[in-house]
Each structure stands twice: as C-alpha cells, then as structure tokens.
C-alpha cells in the first residue's frame, strides 16, 4: 500500500491527472420511470415487476413519472444547477437483450439541469467540482449468463424487473486530480442524495453507480490527454484503488513513450488492475433523436421554486452551522452531520445538555455501542431522550462519568429509566467532603507505601489511592473532589 502511495505521488508530481466522474443514481420513486410497475426490484422473482410498457410490447407508450422529474430537479438544486425552462427526452438507440425497446429513453441536448457544482473537503482543502448536468433516464434490465460473458455464454436469461427504474445521471466536470479527491467527491455526492431522500446510496446493490474518465496531462501540454473510461467499481475504496491503478498504468505507458488508447476498462478487484473491455475507436453510434412519444417538458419557475422550498438543510450548511452554533470542531461537525439521522440525534442531545458533552458522548461511547451492537442510538432501548436524561444526571453531578458509562452500556440494550435506576441502586455520587474525608483518612492510614511514594514524587501513586477510595464508595465518589482532598491531605 505504502508502495502504491509513493509511486502515485511520484507520478502526480510529473503528470496532472484529470478525472471526471459520471454517477448513475436510481431514484426512490414508488413506480418506474414510464409505467406503473413497482420500482422496488430487489428480491422480487425474475420478471415479476413488469408490464407491457417496460416489456416493450408493440403498441404501448411511455408516461413520464412526475415524481422522478421532481427528484431530479431537487437534486439539481442541491447541486446549484440551472434548471432550463424547456427539457425533453430523447431516444438512445442500441440493441441488447436487457433493453427491450431497442432504445433507452434518456436526455441528450436539453437535460433537466446544467452547470452546477459540489464543494468537497479533501484534507483541509475545499475542492469545487463542477457538475456538467443532471439528467433523467431509465435503467436497463439485468442479464445472467451461463458462462463469463454474453459472447461466449451457452445460454443467457434476462430479468426485466430493473428495466425502467428511474435513473438519474450526474455528469461531473473533469475537475478532480487525485483518486482521493474522486473518492471524497463521490462520498459527498452520495451524502447529498441520501440527505435529500432521492437515493438510497447503496453501491453494492448498484443503486448508486460510478464510472470514471481518467487521463494524464503532460506538463506544459495543451488540452487533455487521451481519456480512458473506467467501470465496475462498486465501493468507494474500489474507486480509489481503480483510479490509482489506472493512473499508474497510464503513467507507465507514457513514460515508455507509448500511446494511450481511448477505451473502456473494467476494474477487477481480485487482480487489483483494470482490464480492457472495448475500444472506443469503433464506438457505437447511438443515433439520438427526440422521443416522439413524449411531448417536451415545460418546467415552470413556480414548479422550481416549489421544489426548492422542499430542499432540506444540506450537509455542508449543517456542518458550518454546527461549528458556529455548537462550537464543534470541523472534524466533529462533519462526523455528527454524516447523516440526517445523526445530525438530528445530536441536536436533540445538544438541546438537553452542553453541546461539548453531547458530542463527546455521541462520538465516543454511543458510537462504540452502535458499532458493536449494530443498533443506532435512536433505535436502542435507551433512545435519544434516555441518553439526554442520563447525561443530565452527569451534568448535575448526581452521578459521575464512570457510573454513567456503566448505565449507558446496560440501558442501551435493555432500556429503562436512568433516574429511577440511580435512585434504586444508590448510585448517586458521593460529593460530601465530610463523608469522603473519613474514607480518605482510612485509605491513607492503610496504604503507607503509596503515601510515601507520592510524597517522594511518584504522581502515579495518587491514582492507586484514588482507586482505593472508588472501591470503598463502589465507584460513586466525585473523582475531582477526591483528587483535591487527597492532594490537600498529602501536601
């Protein structure tokens, strides 16, 4: 790994990598793009979510799913795109069994939106990545081959459940220059789509897919180098690895004076390399033309404003607000705003207790428990309100931190009322100087060695004495007060 990073740094010092990403995101509509079939195709028996329209039987006609158009506009607005008043669908013509009409209804020269951007934090640098366009089209079906690829398969079967699912294409400008920037861009984009509720962000299942165009530019050269399209990357890690591998491959060829071939290459995770899929030299001619079965769309300004009003606070704005409103560090703010859910949880916590305490617990023990149990705080026995009640006990000095941690672990699983438990079990903090004084005197008397060590300058000896006090109080002692009182007595 370190080897790859070093090689990459060396290459990127000699060449400028130019990366443009195309993302296909399925929209979370109930029905398909042009028919009434359910768009939820996962786990359905093959070809059960189909009808004459998505099976492309002769004579049927498409009808536009309005929700899909609105989701695309919502996305475009989240990405600061312009929304032209007129837009239309076009036919992209090619033959393949997973495309029953023999054409995909897509958008060619009048997409729903244009010219947006997404700001991405990479390290501590903000990279502004241009968005060329966001347009709407339909997904294809899926195929399974007896054999590796269609061409050599002995038989193939087609499942058209996915065919016609609304698919949004987000075309990025070639503004990214490192694999890390590319990964961060995709993570940020995915976060935005999930935030606004148009996509489930699932890379493994392919509801959020990414293709990359990569070229290397020689120093001082005019224009971009030859572009290679990289496909088959189904995780953020795979995107980064594939781009690293592809950049190294291209640099190696250029170093040896070879010409880069314009082609499509697929990332093969198992080999850690990209392999050639097809050459662009014999590129398909999709013979785009306006879809005559669908009239052009007039996107009124009223409609745009109505959709804009539905935009929730986006991650970037939320992060900035959390920094100023709650005094969080940039890192804390970005962790806490990872998802709408998390941000909401944090704000509920912060409305009950000090934000600093809220964020420490949220990112510390709560995150640890969520990780171990796989259950989010809001779904746990404790719940968000339960945690607020628990933290309020800490803040009020009723219980100390370690008692609270123990209770958190317990209540996270089983649920229950923290206040009641503390009372029942007598877990209240001992912070009475008189009561503690008696215990302290006993501990000092029975641990002469530790006392001598501390007086001799061994700071660690104090911890041992404090441990004895905690033991004697069953962990309920106010640690801060014990520390002060011990120092007074031993000073």
């Amino acid at each position: 790994m370190i080897q790859v990073e070093e090689q990459l740094d060396a290459v990127l010092a000699r060449y400028q990598a130019v990366i443009g990403l195309e993302v296909h995101a399925q929209l979370l509509t109930r029905s398909k793009m042009f028919c009434a079939c359910s768009a939820g195709y996962h786990d359905a028996p093959p070809n059960s979510h189909t009808c004459p329209v998505c099976l492309a039987l002769p004579g049927v006609l498409p009808v536009i799913n309005r929700q899909a158009v609105e989701y695309t506009i919502l996305t475009a607005l989240a990405l600061d795109c312009e929304i032209p008043e007129f837009s239309k669908f076009d036919r992209k013509n090619y033959f393949y069994p997973d495309l029953p009409k023999g054409y995909q209804i897509s958008q060619f020269d009048l997409p729903l939106s244009l010219n947006g951007h997404l700001d991405v934090l990479v390290g501590d640098e903000v990279v502004r990545a241009g968005i060329t366009r966001v347009h709407l089209e339909e997904d294809t079906g899926t195929m399974h081959h007896a054999g590796d690829v269609l061409q050599s398969a002995t038989s193939s079967v087609v499942n058209l459940n996915r065919c016609g699912v609304p698919l949004m294409e987000i075309v990025g400008e070639p503004d990214l220059h490192t694999p890390e920037q590319a990964r961060e861009y995709l993570q940020r984009l995915r976060q935005v789509l999930v935030y606004i509720g148009v996509n489930d962000g699932n890379l493994e299942r392919g509801s959020f897919r990414c293709d990359a165009n990569v070229s290397l530019q020689q120093p001082g050269a005019l224009g971009f180098g030859t572009k290679v399209e990289v496909k088959n990357m189904n995780s953020f890690r795979a995107v980064q690895k594939a781009l690293e591998s592809e950049i190294l491959r291209q640099a190696d060829m250029l170093d040896r004076g070879e010409r880069i071939v314009q082609e499509t290459r697929g990332w093969v995770e198992a080999h850690g390399t990209t392999i050639s899929q097809r050459s662009k030299e014999g590129a398909s001619d999709y013979k785009y033309f306006p879809e005559p079965d669908l009239p052009p769309m007039h996107i009124t300004r009223d409609m745009v404003e109505r959709i804009r009003a539905e935009l929730p606070e986006l991650p970037e704005a939320k992060r900035r607000r959390f920094e100023t409103q709650y005094g969080l560090s940039a890192y804390e703010a970005s962790v806490v705003t990872q998802t709408q859910d998390d941000a909401g949880t944090f704000e509920t916590l912060a409305s009950g207790v000090d934000a600093k305490i809220a964020v420490n617990w949220f990112m510390g023990d709560v995150a640890r428990l969520a990780n171990i149990t796989g259950v989010k705080l809001q779904d746990s026995g404790l719940g968000v309100k339960g945690l607020v009640a628990l933290l309020k006990l800490v803040a009020a000095g009723t219980i100390n931190g370690s008692i609270a941690k123990g209770l958190l672990d317990e209540l996270y699983a089983t649920g229950g009322d923290a206040v009641q438990l503390v009372q029942e079990r007598g877990l209240g903090q001992v912070s009475d100087a008189g009561e503690l004084g008696t215990i302290l005197d006993e501990v000092i008397a029975s641990n002469p060695n530790a006392v001598n060590d501390f007086r001799g300058g061994k700071e660690a000896a104090l911890q041992s004495l404090m441990g004895q006090v905690m033991k004697a109080t069953r962990g309920r002692a106010d640690a801060k007060l014990v520390n002060t009182l011990l120092r007074e007595r031993l000073g």
Partner: protein, 489 residues
C-alpha cells in the same frame, strides 16, 4: 345484411326497431367474410366467437336500455391489424409478429367495445403500415371490391375493402402519410384522419409516432363523425394525446358551407394527377360553389419537399420503433449461435423488403455525421410545411383537393418504390402538419372510384366533417356500391 343497412345510422335504427338483432348483424358480417374473403383477403384474423358473444351482449344492452345505448352498440366493425386487441393475434401484416397475442387492447378499440361494438376481425394491411397498395403485407395483398385484381390502396387497404365490399358498416385504420384517406379514395368510401393527438395511439403498433393517427372508414361522413365522437379524446396512456375536450362533430354536422372559403392548393394539381381524377375533383368544386362556398387558389410552396421530408422523418422513427422486434420476448425468432446472429437472422426473415428499406433509410438519416443534414433539416422543413398551412388557413376555412393522384391500379403495376411514394403527395403534408383530413367519394374514372380530400386547421375536426358532409349530401357518390355489395344484397 342488405344494401339498405350499410351505414351505422341505418343499422342502429334497425336494431332499435327490432327489425334485426346484433347477433343477426354479426352473423351476416361473418357470412360476408366467409363468402368473399378468399378473393378479397381483407381479413388476417376473423374473431367469430368473440363477435357472437359481443353481439349477444349488445342485444341484451339494447333490450335493457336501447335509448341510452351508443349508436355503435351491436354494429359490427373491422379493426386494422396494427391495433392491439387483448387475446387476439396482432401481426401488423408482418411475419415477425406471427403468433403475437397482446395482453391489452388499444384505447380506440376499447372505446368502441365499451360502446357495444362487435369486432368481426383484424384487417389486412401493408407490413407495419408501410405502403400505399397493401402489396407489402406478409400475408398477401387485399383486393379492391371494385375490381379485385386491383389494389385497395394502403396501408389500411383491408379496412377500406372490408367497408367497401359491404361486409361491415365501418372499420378502423391508421394514417401516417395517407394510409386511411388514400385507400378510402381507391375503394370509394369515406376515410377520416383526425387531428394528430385527437385519438389515442395507445395500443397502435407504431410506424412513425409523430405522424400516426387512428381514424375510421365508413359509408358516410355522419358515420365517421359518430365513430370519431366515440374514440376521440384525451387518454392518460398516450402523452401526445390532446388534453382539450373534443367538440361534438354531430352537433354542427349539417350546418352547411354557405359563406365558407375553400382554398385550392395549386401544388396539389400537378402533372402527376391523372386527367380523369382532375376532372372529377373540379366537378366537385363546382358542387361546393353551388352550396354557397367560395373557391380561391392558394399556394403551399413546400409541397414538393414535404414528400422527401416525410421519407426522412417516418423512416427515422420507424427504425427506432421497430427495434423492439428483436426475437427476444415475442414474435418470430431464428435461433442462432450468437446474439448478433440471432438478431440479424430474426429480423432478416421477419421483415419484408419495404420495411427493411425504411429501417435502413431511417438509420442512415439518424447516423452521426448525417443527422444535421437529414433528420434535423427534415424537422425544419416540417415546421415550414406546418407554417404554410397555418398561413393559408388565415385566409380560408378548409382546403379541397384530390386525395390520390390516381385511381386503383393493378397489383404489381407499380414496382418502383419512388413511384409508389408519389401516391401520397397530397396526403403526406397533412400528417407532417398534424392536421385533420378526410377523403370522400367524388365520382369514377373507368368505373373506379375517385376521392376528394378536404383538409382543415388543427383541432377543427368538427368543421372538417361538416364540410365533407355538406358535399356528400349534395351528391350521390357515397350511395354507389362496389359489385361485391350488390352480389350480397
């Protein structure tokens, strides 16, 4: 059925007076097919059992509430084989759809069925509605009831012949460049192509989506209006269907043409128009004048390029529309060792020469590097054609001209595709502009019918029907019946 019961209006009256039952009408229509169709070949599928059931249901409906039942209730109809009917084989006249049984019914047909119509069968047509003579049907050409050795016109030739032969009072066809009006002219019946978008295209097997329109054939303009009133109107399943309500064409049907201005497009009377056809059309114009209409010459200068424009746009759309006939999910398939071979051999065997010719033309016009020169240019000319009509319609109420430059020709007589394409010179511009057009009989040349075409502005279907009705009522041409009708009567 007798010649006195040829129209929907007459049959509806006879059904209500109990002079005849729907079951009897269906039986007569089926017997007519039995008697003549071996020679006429107007039908590709006869739906006898379904027809008898529909007729029985219609009789019940008429008995229970004859007054509120549609005039179409119990009246037999024939449907062009490009319109899908649930459970009935639908081939579009092509071998590639042999055996295809759609699980849905075209909206236009469904509206007829809802009105109580009795579907006798599916009619012959040029393959995927591409042709002007019916000779491009994969199932052999239909004959013309006036002379079975001659073509009935196309592409809706079977639908025209089914009505002209006296077998049914009306039928449905589709018109992409004249495919209703031209066979209506050649078979001596009325054929109406409504404004583009007025009748739903859902369930119509597409030839060229931006040009296709469903419409009726009948023995009278009133019947055309009755059918249009039933099948017209918005359909949520067809996004290109007009949302505005349909003006009732029957309400103003007999309002006459007094004071109306008629344009005579000079480009539609060119050298290709046979002298006999020209004579009959000119005589028809005198009739219009006698009814109080005035005539004036108008010009549609882009007429000569409209034909070429059509032969870019229609093939471009058809090349894409027919891509779904790939052998994967339905219809004809030739198994092969590779996917590409399967596609190639299926489509090579499945499509006839004219369809292949148009698929190739369309692919060429849409190819990268040619798109601007052909498809884009054609769209610009199309806009120009529409504007010329609009401009003419600021001066006149309707246009009058021949429907076809020639009368029915003998099978095989026109083998040159370009000569065949020229048959549609006066009908094609109407589709390019999305206008309503109708052909009505206006006389004979050598005992073969001649068609008179009226054209009206977009959405003025009611006005168009009123004009055609006025002419029809002033003449007796629509009452002259083909020899086949006389044989049955």
């Amino acid at each position: 059925m007798s010649a006195s019961q040829l129209t929907i209006t007459q049959q509806a009256a006879a059904l209500r007076s109990r002079e005849v039952s729907a079951v009897e009408l269906a039986g007569a229509a089926l017997a007519h097919v039995e008697a003549h169709d071996s020679r006429l070949n107007a039908y590709l599928t006869v739906t006898a059992d379904a027809a008898r059931q529909q007729a029985a249901a219609a009789d019940r409906r008429l008995r229970e509430d004859g007054a509120s039942a549609s005039p179409l209730c119990g009246v037999p109809v024939a449907i062009k084989d490009v319109l899908c009917i649930d459970g009935v084989e639908t081939t579009a006249g092509s071998k590639i759809l042999k055996g295809f049984v759609p699980p849905y019914t075209a909206t236009s047909v469904q509206r007829l069925l809802d009105a109580g119509a009795v579907v006798v069968g599916k009619t012959n047509c040029d393959e995927f509605a591409m042709g002007s003579s019916n000779e491009n049907s994969a199932y052999g050409p239909a004959g013309n009831p006036w002379d079975v050795e001659r073509v009935p016109g196309g592409s809706s030739g079977g639908s025209a012949a089914a009505v002209a032969s006296g077998g049914v009072a009306y039928s449905l066809g589709s018109d992409t460049g004249g495919s209703i009006r031209q066979p209506a002219a050649l078979c001596g019946v009325a054929g109406f192509k409504p404004t583009y978008g007025r009748v739903s295209r859902y369930g119509l097997i597409a030839f060229a989506s931006s040009l296709d329109q469903v419409g009726p054939f009948a023995h009278s303009v009133r019947d055309c209006a009755t059918v249009f009133a039933t099948i017209g109107g918005h359909d949520p399943l067809d996004s290109t269907s007009e949302a505005s309500p349909v003006e009732d064409p029957l309400a103003s049907l007999d309002a006459g043409v007094r004071g109306m201005r008629f344009g005579v497009p000079k480009e539609y009377f060119g050298a290709g128009v046979e002298p006999g056809v020209r004579d009959r059309v000119e005589a028809a114009m005198r009739v219009i004048e006698s009814l109080g209409g005035s005539l004036e010459e108008v010009s549609l200068p882009s007429t000569d390029v409209a034909l070429s424009t059509y032969y870019i746009i229609a093939p471009a759309e058809c090349s894409s529309n027919l891509a779904r006939m790939d052998g994967v999910r339905f219809g004809h398939r030739v198994d092969a060792s590779s996917l590409t071979d399967m596609y190639l051999r299926t489509r090579d065997e499945g499509f006839g020469p004219e369809v292949k010719r148009r698929i190739m033309l369309g692919n060429y016009a849409l190819s990268s590097g040619y798109y601007d020169a052909y498809y884009k240019k054609a769209q610009q000319v199309r806009t120009l054609v529409a504007r010329e009509f609009e401009s003419v319609f600021t001066k006149v109420d309707a246009l009058v001209c021949p429907t076809s430059p020639i009368v029915a020709f003998r099978r095989g007589e026109r083998s040159d595709p370009l000569a065949m394409y020229a048959c549609d010179t006066m009908t094609i511009p109407v589709n390019l502009a999305g206008l309503p057009g109708i052909s009505v009989p206006c006389g004979f040349v050598d005992s073969l019918p001649v068609g008179l075409q009226f054209i009206a502005p977009r959405l003025e279907d009611a006005k168009l029907l009123r004009v055609a009705y006025a002419y029809e009522q002033a003449t007796e041409w629509h009452e002259m019946h083909a020899p086949m009708v006389e044989a049955t009567a």
